[in-house]
């Protein structure tokens, strides 16, 4: 069944959209990530214009993260104070990201920057996660009890000025690293069409030492709020949010996420992180190949000015 996407101005199979939404939703539920980093590339590789793919996936990420954020909120797993700082700086970062997005699109370098961005970001995070999870798996196998890092173990980041007390996270740290993390994720997330949960969670855990019981909830809330702001920014500035595309993906994604979440309970945390690392690396390698390998067609075209009405 074909469905016409009014903003992308193309006709796509509805089952294909709901299907990839569900498949990515399953993985996002399984690993507890938004899934934007998989969905945006999938759409780009299946012919949706890059700008429409990025802008519409932001809407889908909001939906994918909402139910998770709500359930964490009910369990009290969100540090609202910390989330507020992250969201505010994230929205400022998103303004920069969307503006950069427009500049790059006009200059013809959007696809390049997105490919390089995914390669560097996913490659880096993927390798880190793979090392960490392999180490945990090996230690478990050799019978050593892995000692969880304690939240009150300090590093140099905690010595910075402008300290604020975050009661729920039991932290008394400088706001500077919090704001920088928020800004960075806002910028990168709006530029690449990803929620950034897979950057946010390690950053909160390893840099800020946020305790495990509030990490996921706080990160999810931040993703919802920041991606909601980004969707509106994209709608206003680049006008490339395709609501039909986003909604088709949401429906599949929300359903898939529920099954993914229950499947995730069958696996241990370190196994999950190892699998996620492999997935992230696979996407990074795929983007790396598009940069290095000779393209099937050296020429491409875009509509660079209006003239077509609706």
């Amino acid at each position: 069944m074909q469905i016409y996407l009014p903003i992308a101005e193309m006709s796509v199979n509805l089952f294909f959209l709901v299907g990839i939404g569900a498949a990515v939703g399953f993985l996002s539920g399984l690993f507890g990530v938004g899934g934007g980093f998989l969905l945006t590339p999938l759409l780009i590789f299946s012919g949706v214009p890059t700008s429409v793919a990025v802008a519409s996936v932001t809407g889908q990420v909001v939906a994918a993260s909402t139910s998770g954020a709500l359930s964490h909120y009910r369990r009290g797993g969100i540090d609202m104070h910390l989330a507020m700082y992250l969201v505010l700086s994230g929205i400022i970062g998103a303004f920069g990201g969307v503006a950069t997005f427009d500049l790059l699109r006009d200059a013809g370098q959007l696809d390049l920057v997105i490919a390089v961005g995914f390669l560097v970001l996913l490659g880096f995070i993927g390798v880190l996660m793979l090392i960490e999870s392999t180490r945990a798996l090996l230690k478990r196998r050799s019978g050593i009890v892995v000692r969880e890092r304690l939240p009150n173990q300090h590093n140099w980041i905690h010595g910075l000025p402008m300290r604020v007390r975050f009661k729920k996270s039991k932290l008394y740290i400088s706001v500077l690293p919090v704001l920088i993390i928020g800004l960075f994720i806002g910028f990168v997330g709006s530029l690449l069409g990803i929620g950034g949960g897979f950057i946010m969670v390690p950053a909160l855990v390893y840099l800020l030492r946020v305790p495990g019981n509030v990490v996921i909830g706080t990160s999810l809330l931040q993703v919802v709020a920041m991606m909601a702001a980004t969707t509106i920014l994209h709608a206003v500035q680049s006008q490339s949010v395709d609501i039909m595309l986003a909604f088709s993906l949401m429906v599949g994604g929300v359903a898939g996420a529920q099954f993914g979440a229950s499947a995730g309970k069958q696996l241990r945390g370190d196994q999950l992180r190892g699998l996620l690392a492999l997935l992230v690396l696979a996407v990074a390698i795929r983007f790396g190949l598009t940069l290095v390998l000779a393209p099937a067609d050296a020429f491409s075209m875009v509509v660079s000015g209006t003239g077509a009405g609706s």
Partner: protein, 255 residues
């Protein structure tokens, strides 16, 4: 619609013809509006016409053989062709040429091989050849314009937006023809023009232009307009929809 009705319509919709050589073209088409709905997957349309003596002419019949070319021209937009080159180990866009007011859709239907119908000069000056649209002056210089123009036409052809069908016009009798065109699902919305040329011995003896529109209608039109006219509201609605879908998913599946 039946043939009889079409022939009746032909007589009514004769319209203006060039007075040259005493022959005129009566033509019509199957739709003057193509509506893009949520299930839009392309649309077929048919052009009909008949060559008849001019009103008041002494000769009561026309002498063939005629050749007919129907050119369907879509809305124009500025289009940029870009070239990737290999630099420092990676492939990136390094060169580009922008073609102003370039057709977003261009299909040529002809009753014979274009080269057999008329000469290349006529084909180019009348903008019948797809490449002729790239030959307009451009500040990129003629060589780059020619190279990128060829590539642009090739890309448009690969997407089904440009095309030449040299057996697209069929003569039903010596002076009556029909031409079929399938508009693809990615046909850009906007005003279209169908230009019909009648050739005899390589000369244009009659021509006619008719307009039709490809429009988004109903919900698709509403969405496309809203995204441009009320972008803030459109964005807010997207977010509310996303929050609601996410919330509903959580409730339905009781995570």
């Amino acid at each position: 619609m039946t043939w009889r009705r079409w022939l009746g319509a032909l007589a009514l919709l004769g319209g203006l013809a060039t007075p040259a050589l005493g022959d005129r073209l009566l033509s019509t088409m199957s739709n003057d509006e193509i509506e893009i709905t949520s299930s839009f997957d392309g649309e077929k349309m048919t052009f009909f016409g008949s060559i008849a003596p001019d009103a008041g002419a002494e000769q009561k019949f026309v002498n063939g053989p005629f050749q007919v070319i129907v050119v369907v021209l879509g809305p124009t937009a500025d289009r940029t062709a870009r070239q990737m080159t290999h630099n420092f180990g990676i492939w990136l866009n390094t060169d580009q040429v922008t073609f102003r007011k370039f057709p977003s859709y261009f299909h040529v239907l002809a009753s014979d091989r274009l080269a057999d119908i008329t000469d290349i000069t006529t084909l180019t000056t009348q903008f019948i050849l797809p490449e002729s649209h790239t030959l307009v002056p451009n500040n990129a210089g003629w060589w780059k314009t020619a190279v990128f123009g060829r590539q642009l036409v090739r890309l448009m052809t690969e997407q089904g937006l440009f095309g030449v069908n040299e057996s697209g016009v069929n003569f039903l009798s010596d002076n009556t023809y029909s031409a079929r065109l399938t508009l693809p699902s990615n046909a850009p919305p906007g005003p279209y023009i169908a230009l019909t040329y009648v050739f005899k011995d390589g000369q244009i003896i009659a021509r006619k232009s008719e307009g039709f529109a490809v429009r988004k209608i109903g919900f698709e039109r509403f969405l496309a307009l809203a995204s441009v006219q009320q972008p803030l509201l459109y964005g807010v609605v997207c977010v509310i929809l996303a929050l609601f879908t996410g919330w509903l998913g959580g409730v339905l599946f009781k995570r």
